[in-house]
């Protein structure tokens, strides 16, 4: 019987400090046993438990894309015991990764469709995975128009800035980067909150257009009415939830929203599904 609580051993291969407040770091991991990389076959939207012996585990969305081979990548906000310890770890240190866990964005259903990605703050990780996945030469033709609305408080708080700049230059993806405010006279993108930019830039709703939203509760709260107003059906609005987790496999009981576990039945739900569920997230 395979033990679902046993992490795969990994080595930290690279650490990048992402944001000006230094609270967000991206970790690249390499599996100690190359066979484990095959066992860890994942889809964009899934998460994993990062495991540090002596500290515990944290559930973190997978920021790398399944099209990127040889490593997996996670961006971690420094919040509690495990994430603070992780931020103090060094390249070469050994730890564990358990997963992949949860469901993913409905990639089969999204084929042939226009995709509008709406993200805010550091909840851009599985969205980064999704963009890299869709832009992969083998996949790009499977999708229609791709729009990305991504906002942070300041330019220095945006994740993956080099990639954002590279995507800005492409003609097969419409980038709408925004910040709440900036003093930078050279800032050449949008200024304004995500809901405002969504109202201005999101394409008109139709049955072939899906929105994927990830962000802080306040952003979601004010973005949803904008999408409603623009005519997006609740079946076409896809969201990813977070809750406190331990097991990640639907057993320990704490992350439920109604009868569904965010860890196992989610984290991805459509707004139509969420409308029938208690707001316990």
């Amino acid at each position: 019987m395979q033990n679902p609580y046993l992490p795969y051993p990994v080595r930290i291969d690279a650490i990048v400090t992402e944001t000006e407040d230094k609270n967000l770091k991206t970790f690249k991991f390499v599996f100690l046993d190359p066979e484990d990389e095959k066992r860890f076959a994942y889809r964009s939207g899934q998460f994993a438990e990062l495991s540090v012996a002596g500290k515990g585990e944290i559930p973190i969305g997978i920021a790398s894309s399944p099209t990127e081979k040889g490593f997996i990548m996670f961006t971690v906000n420094k919040v509690g015991l495990v994430s603070s310890h992780l931020h103090a770890m060094k390249v070469g240190d050994v730890m564990g990764v358990r997963g992949p866990l949860g469901n993913w964005y409905p990639w089969e259903q999204l084929e042939g469709k226009n995709v509008v990605i709406i993200g805010g703050g550091f909840a851009f990780t599985t969205l980064r995975s999704s963009i890299v996945y869709m832009l992969d030469p083998a996949n790009r033709k499977k999708f229609g128009e791709i729009h990305v609305i991504y906002g942070a408080r300041t330019p220095g708080m945006l994740l993956y800035r080099e990639e954002l700049a590279a995507w800005e230059k492409r003609d097969d993806i419409h980038m709408h980067i925004t910040v709440d405010g900036t003093n930078d006279p050279d800032w050449k993108y949008n200024v304004g909150f995500v809901p405002t930019i969504t109202d201005k830039k999101a394409p008109a709703a139709d049955d072939n257009t899906y929105a994927i939203i990830c962000g802080p509760p306040i952003m979601i709260k004010f973005t949803q009415p904008v999408l409603d107003q623009r005519g997006y059906r609740h079946d076409n609005i896809i969201m990813s939830l977070e809750n406190r987790m331990k097991c990640g496999i639907g057993m320990c009981g704490r992350c439920n929203v109604g009868k569904d576990f965010v860890c196992k039945d989610g984290p991805v739900f459509t707004l139509a599904q969420l409308n029938t569920m208690p707001k316990e997230y």
Binding site: R244, G250, R254, K279
Partner: protein, 354 residues
């Protein structure tokens, strides 16, 4: 199904023999209550009880359980790697478990043994255990097993059912595990027992259970209607979030995982946890989706009486043992809450005219 008659001498001799073949657990009187304890040589089970204070849950699913060992010593080649702790150390038998508590394992199994993931700690311990149940001939006033999917003589969770007689027991060997236990006890040569008086005694025991829950409408109710029902503030008002109900409950399975290090070595372990505690669902950001007492109390009842019902379509996540009713310090009663939920909202015929 084999029925055998065990007089007191055969019973006592058999129990002694079983101690060699099984890790044997049975109720022993400790203070005012009966608790399951390992039986050492010469130690006898005390089956003169209505029910044990704690269920047998902890024998399969210990309150604290080591899952992994690790070393943090950089001089060791495998430092910071987790190593699985040993599981299920040989066959176990639980003597004198009540049928409701044995049925509870079948409910809990749905959580730990799923098509997608298997919890090896729980499954191996459960599979290594033989459950020898003791029929309830004198149920408690708080028992409502007969309307909670179990019963005083319920056999569904058991390997052997014991029915007390004036001299010893009539034993029903329900499963191959039960027959193997009877053989190990030397009971395979015991005289055949008589089934007909048992049916009468079962009927008499059931007749004594007068407290009941109504559950027939729960599935049809909309989740959000029950969630937003007006009675939750009232139900939760007196609750002190002590968690006694969840610890005593044979069907509560929630747990926490923690690392504990001593020097340069440590263990990853799991502990029973409780939805009654605010930490259970507290986010790292400080946000808590169940930060209020009423939300936590509602979660416990909604889980047992609605979410579970919807998820498995096989009754409620409760076997009617009545422990939470007996031991709640502020007298919150799951029977009352269940009936409130079942009766909530307009009756189906309320809109009919004429």
């Amino acid at each position: 199904m084999k029925m055998i008659k065990l007089n007191q001498t055969a019973w006592e001799q058999g129990i002694e023999k079983l101690k060699a073949a099984y890790g044997l657990f049975a109720p022993v009187k400790t203070g005012a209550a009966h608790e399951f304890k390992p039986l050492g040589p010469g130690q006898a089970a005390n089956l003169n009880f209505q029910n044990t204070r704690l269920s047998a849950k902890g024998l399969i699913y210990p309150q604290t359980q080591v899952m992994f060992h690790y070393s943090l010593n950089p001089d060791q080649a495998d430092h910071h790697r987790l190593h699985e702790a040993p599981m299920a150390d040989g066959p176990k038998a639980v003597i004198g478990i009540r049928p409701c508590d044995a049925d509870a394992f079948l409910l809990v199994r749905r959580n730990f043994d799923t098509p997608q993931y298997k919890d090896p700690y729980w499954i191996k311990a459960y599979e290594a255990t033989t459950l020898v149940g003791l029929a309830c001939t004198a149920p408690c006033a708080t028992c409502f097993c007969t309307t909670a999917g179990s019963g005083p003589f319920s056999e569904t969770g058991l390997d052997v059912l014991l029915v007390p007689e004036t001299d010893g027991y009539t034993a029903k060997l329900i499963s191959p595990k039960g027959e193997a236990l009877a053989t190990a006890a030397g009971w395979d040569k015991a005289p055949a027992g008589d089934a007909s008086p048992i049916a009468e005694r079962e009927a008499a025991a059931k007749a004594q259970i007068t407290s009941a829950v109504a559950t027939d409408q729960l599935k049809a109710k909309a989740t959000l209607d029950l969630y937003d029902a007006p009675f939750w503030d009232d139900v939760a008002f007196a609750c002190i979030n002590c968690g006694t109900c969840t610890y005593l409950c044979p069907t509560c399975w929630c747990f926490d995982i923690q690392d504990e290090t001593s020097g340069k070595a440590g263990v990853r372990l799991r502990n029973w946890d409780s939805c009654m505690y605010p930490l259970f669902s507290l986010h790292g950001s400080g946000h808590n989706p169940r930060g209020l007492k009423v939300q936590r109390v509602r979660q416990r009842f909604m889980h047992k009486l609605k979410y579970y019902v919807d998820k498995y379509d096989d009754g409620i996540q409760c076997v009617g043992c009545g422990r939470c009713v007996q031991h709640c310090p502020v007298n919150i009663d799951i029977r009352k809450v269940c009936n409130l939920m079942n009766a909530h909202g307009p009756a189906p015929e309320a809109c009919k005219i004429g």
